[in-house]
Amino acid sequence: MDWLNAIIQGILLGGLYALFAAGLSLIFGVMRLVNIAHGDLIVLAAFLGLMITTTLGINPLLALFVAAPQMGLFGYALQRWVLNRTLGDDILPPLLVTFGLSVIIQNGLLEVFSADPQKLNAGSIETASIAVPGGINIGVLPLLMFVTAVAVIAVLQWIFYRSALGRAFRATSDNQDIAQLMGLNKSHIFGLAMALSLVVVAIAGIFLGIRTSFDPAAGPARLIFGFEAVIIGGLGNLWGTLIGGIILGICQNIGAQINPGWQLLAGHIAFLIILAVRPRGLFPRVDG
C-alpha cells in the first residue's frame, strides 16, 4: 500500500514538475531559447509571493493574481531589452546571458532575503485531505496543484493551436523572416511569449512555495526537474511534458520509498535511461 501511495503522490507531484517545465517548453518552442535562469525565476516568483502575502496579509493562492501579472510584465521587459539582443544563429549568447541572469537573481535574492529557508503559508488547505478507498489519503493541495497544471497546459495548448496569438507564435517559430514580412513584429511576439512563460513561472513559484520551503539557491534544481520533464515527454509536446513530469515525480517517490537518499538520484537516472533509449523523448512532436 505504501507503494501505491508513493505512485499516487508521485503523479500529483508530477503536476508541479509539469508547471516548472511548461514555461521552459513554451519559449523553446517559440524562439529556440533555453532559459538557464528559469529555475531562479521560479524561486523569484516564490519570494515575490512571500512579499505580497506579508505586506497585504492575503492567502498566497490569492497573491498569485498579483504576482502573475508582475512576472508577466517583467518577462516582457526582460525579453525586449535583454534577451532579444542575444537571439541569432549562435547558441552561446542566450545561454551565457541567461546563465549570468541566473547568478544575478540568486545572489540578489541572497542579498535581500538572506539564505534562510522561507515558506508560504496557505492556511488549512495545506493539511486538508480526501480519504479514498484503500486507506490512501489524497491531499487537497497536491490535487489542486495537479488540476492547475492540467488546466495550465490545456490553456497553453489552446492558445498555441486555436488563438491568433498562437498562430503568431507558430509562424515566428517556423520562419522568423517570413513572419516579419507578414506584418508580425517578432520582438513583440517573443516578448509576449516570455511574458506568458513567466506567468506560468509565477503559478509554479507560488505552488512551490506553498508545498515546500525554498531559499535563494533552490532555483537550479527546479530548472533541472523542468528540463527533465520536457526531455522525457518529448520536445515541443505540451501534453508530453505533463507525462514527463508525472514519470519524474513517480520515479522520485519510488526512489525515496526505497532509500531517502535516492529520491533525486532515481529521477535523474530515469531521465538518463530514457535519454539512452528514446533520445527524442517518449512523445516527440511528429511534425519535428
Binding site: 531559447l33 533555453v34 538557464i36 535583454v82 539582443r85 542575444t86 549562435d90 547558441i91 552561446l92 549568447p93 542566450p94 545561454l95 551565457l96 546571458v97 546563465f99 549570468g100 541572469l101 541566473s102 547568478v103 544575478i104 540568486q106 545572489n107 540578489g108 541572497l110 542579498e111 537550479p220 534544481a221 530548472l223 533541472i224 528540463f227 527533465e228 526531455i231 520536445l235 537518499g261 535516492w262 533525486l264 538520484l265 535523474h268 537516472i269 531521465f271 538518463l272 535519454l275 539512452a276 533520445p279
Partner: protein, 359 residues
C-alpha cells in the same frame, strides 16, 4: 629568373616569437616562486594557475568544439574524489594519483559523452548539469568517503607529499604551475595540429566544416574526453590543496563552472589568450571586490552579460581586432620569400591558397 618569389607557410609571427620567449622567462620566474613569494602570494598564485587551467579547458570545449557545458564541475569533483579514494584506500602516492585521476576522468567521460551527445545546443548544456548532479548525489552515497558531509585527507598522506610544511607548500605550488603549463601546452599543440585546424573550422562554421569532410561528432567527442580527463586531473590537484572534500564543494556549479564561464567570456571566448587574460582580470576583481559578498557575484554576472551583449569576443577579441595580435603561434600565414634557385619553384606551387589565411 634568378629571383623567384616563393610561398611558404609561416607559423610564427614576430609577436608570437617574442611572446614565446617571454612566456618561457615568465615560467622560469614563476617556478622560482618559493624563493621570492610569500606564503599567501603562493597560495593565491596556485589558485590562479588552477583557475587558468580550468578556464583554458572550458574554452577549448565551448569556444572551439562548440560544446557549451555547464557541468564541468562533474569532472572537477570526480577528480577530487578519485584522488581521495586512491590515496586513502589503495595507498597510491598523491603525486601519482593526479595523473591516474586524469585517466579515470577521461574514461568516465566516454559513456557520459555517448549519452549527452544526443542532446543539442542549449539542451546539451543542461544535460551536462544533470550529469554533474548525478555525480554529486552518488558521491554523497559513498559512506567510506564521509557521505554527504565529506572527509579530510589523513595526516599521514599529507605528510607523504613532503616532510616539512614549507616544502609541501612549495610542492603544491609547483604542481599547480606544472599542471597549468601542461594544460596550456596540450591545448596549444592540439590547436596547432591537424585536429586543431578541424576544430577551428568547426568553431567558425559547423556546416561548412562538415561539407569539407570533417567528422564533427568525432572531433567533439575527442575534445570532450580530453577536457574531461584534464579537468579531472586539475580537480584532483585542487582538492589535494584543499585537503578536504565534500559533495557540495566538489561539485559546486558556482566555483567550478560559473566562475570559469565568466573568466572565459570576459577574457574572450574562442581564443587561447582569452582565458589567460580573463583569469588575471577575475583575480584582480576578486581581490578588490570580494568583501562585497553576494554583490560581487552580481557584478560579475552583470559584467559577463554586458560583455556578451556589447563585445561578444571579450577583451582579447577587442585587442585582437585593434592590433591583430596573436601571442600563440597557432595561425598559418602564407608569406612570400625571395629565393635564388629557381629549381624549387615548381615544388611549392601546387595550387595552395595564396591569400593570407589566419585561423
Amino acid at each position: 629568373m634568378s629571383d623567384t618569389q616563393q610561398y611558404a607557410i609561416d607559423r610564427f609571427s614576430p609577436a608570437s616569437r617574442i611572446a614565446a620567449v617571454a612566456a618561457l622567462v615568465l615560467i622560469i620566474a614563476l617556478a622560482c616562486g618559493p624563493w621570492w613569494a610569500g606564503r599567501a602570494d603562493m597560495r593565491l598564485l596556485s589558485e590562479l594557475f588552477l583557475y587558468m587551467a580550468l578556464a583554458s579547458l572550458w574554452n577549448l570545449l565551448a569556444g572551439y568544439a562548440g560544446l557549451v557545458s555547464v557541468g564541468q564541475q562533474a569532472f572537477v569533483g570526480f577528480g577530487g574524489y578519485c584522488l581521495f579514494a586512491m590515496t586513502m584506500f589503495f595507498g597510491i602516492p598523491p603525486l601519482m594519483a593526479i595523473p591516474v585521476a586524469g585517466v579515470a576522468g577521461a574514461l568516465i567521460s566516454i559513456p557520459v559523452a555517448f549519452l549527452i551527445f544526443r542532446l543539442r545546443g542549449a539542451y546539451f548544456a543542461i544535460g551536462t548539469w544533470v550529469i554533474a548532479e548525478v555525480f554529486r548525489l552518488s558521491a554523497a552515497q559513498i559512506s567510506a568517503l564521509g557521505g554527504g558531509s565529506g572527509t579530510s585527507l589523513p595526516v599521514t598522506i599529507v605528510k607523504s607529499i613532503a616532510s616539512s610544511r614549507a616544502l609541501r607548500e612549495a610542492a603544491s605550488y609547483w604542481m599547480a604551475l606544472a599542471i597549468l603549463v601542461v594544460v596550456l601546452a596540450i591545448v596549444c599543440l592540439l590547436l596547432r595540429s591537424r585536429r586543431g585546424l578541424a576544430l577551428t573550422a568547426i568553431r567558425d562554421n559547423e556546416l561548412a566544416s562538415q561539407s569539407l569532410g570533417i567528422d564533427i561528432w568525432r572531433a567533439k567527442f575527442f575534445v570532450y574526453v580530453l577536457t574531461g580527463g584534464l579537468t579531472a586531473a586539475v580537480g584532483a590537484l585542487i582538492f589535494l590543496q584543499k585537503l578536504r572534500i565534500s559533495p557540495d564543494a566538489a561539485f559546486s556549479v558556482n566555483d567550478w563552472t560559473a566562475f570559469v564561464i565568466f573568466i572565459v567570456v570576459i577574457g574572450g571566448i574562442g581564443t587561447i589568450e582569452g582565458p589567460i587574460v580573463g583569469t588575471i582580470i577575475f583575480f584582480l576583481l576578486r581581490e578588490t571586490l570580494a568583501d562585497l559578498g553576494a554583490l560581487y557575484l552580481m557584478i560579475l554576472g552583470l559584467v559577463a552579460i554586458v560583455i556578451m551583449l556589447r563585445a561578444p569576443k571579450g577583451i582579447w577579441g577587442f585587442v585582437r581586432q585593434k592590433t591583430d595580435l596573436d601571442l600563440f603561434a597557432l595561425s598559418r600565414r602564407v608569406v612570400t620569400r625571395k629565393k635564388h634557385q629557381s629549381s624549387h619553384a615548381n615544388e611549392d606551387n601546387k595550387g595552395e591558397p595564396h591569400e593570407p589565411q589566419t585561423t
